[in-house]
Symmetry: C2
Subunit: 187 residues, 2 copies
């Protein structure tokens, strides 16, 4: 979500990502990231707790963005979630190379994958709260949020596996497919 | 899933859980768990890498159980997932107190919550593989697996918040509600 991160913090995150991709996550130090960004190591640690943090710094901004879209949209619980995640997907496409590189770095480390899952769980919490603030009562709010993020994960995985594909399009197809999956269920 | 864990390993896991609940996760040592189970600390470490591991040891068995139910069931992708998770839910109800205590311990530690999310992601992978083995092609297999586990999380959360509720019943309601959520979506 590079466009939400201007200034030193964003530059550090970008340089961190480049180094992780070039040399590997383990082999990269905070000092090297700071050096490439042209700041001191101390400045790095003013922005991030550790090098891992530089890969996950956009989380709160993304959560705020999702909450904002839900707040100003209209529709059913799942439509609100879909609108919010669709907007996030469009934001990813403003710098797809960054998201693809980040995904490849995360895939190489179980520790990073674990953190990414926690970040996704944070998106569920943010969406659920935003839905509740909008008057959606709770089991539905949580269910719509969990389901929406599950579909987002599927869409993102599919997009990452297909260079050149467009995330909002892939995500919309995944949401449509969920409706089909349920539609063909005999109950 | 205590019923799948007989013998020393299961006894150690049970004693670990009791101690975590009584004294807190941080304050409990592997030596204390071993002592309560009446074995040496060395025996504890033959079964588990660390005390956290004693809380998550059932994961592979649960994955195998889900795969097994999918393999011997019939229906659409989502019906297969629903059958497998419903069976897991029924297994939880053979010892609900254990699952509730475990959930309460996990809720107290972000590190444990993170590991639990990873375990849930393992269930997605297991379900997806089982569906593919059954001839369900991949975007649908992944989508059904992710969605099913998302619904399971919602059902489990709701069940944990309501003492005395029945997990298979709560889970079935969550699956039905997902169909409703999608049904009311104007597309």
């Amino acid at each position: 979500m590079g466009r939400w991160e201007p200034g030193t913090r964003g530059r550090l995150a970008q340089n961190a990502l480049e180094l992780f991709a070039e040399r590997g996550f383990e082999a990269t130090t905070a000092a090297e990231i700071a050096e490439r960004a042209g700041v001191t190591e101390r400045t790095f640690f003013r922005h991030f707790a550790d090098k891992r943090d530089a890969l996950f710094h956009g989380g709160e901004l993304l959560e705020a963005h999702l909450a904002d879209v839900v707040a100003r949209s209209e529709g059913s619980a799942l439509e609100l979630v879909r609108a919010a995640l669709g907007s996030a997907a469009a934001a990813v496409e403003t710098n797809p190379e960054r998201a693809r590189t980040r995904d490849a770095v995360i895939a190489t480390h179980p520790e990073l994958r674990e953190r990414e899952l926690t970040k996704m769980d944070g998106l569920v919490t943010a969406l659920r709260s935003a839905l509740r603030a909008k008057g959606v009562p709770d089991p539905s709010a949580l269910l719509a949020a969990e389901t929406g993020v599950a579909v987002f994960k599927v869409g993102f995985t599919r997009w990452a596996a297909r260079p050149g594909s467009d995330l909002p399009t892939v995500l919309a197809a995944a949401f449509d497919e969920l409706a089909d999956l349920l539609g063909t269920t005999q109950r």
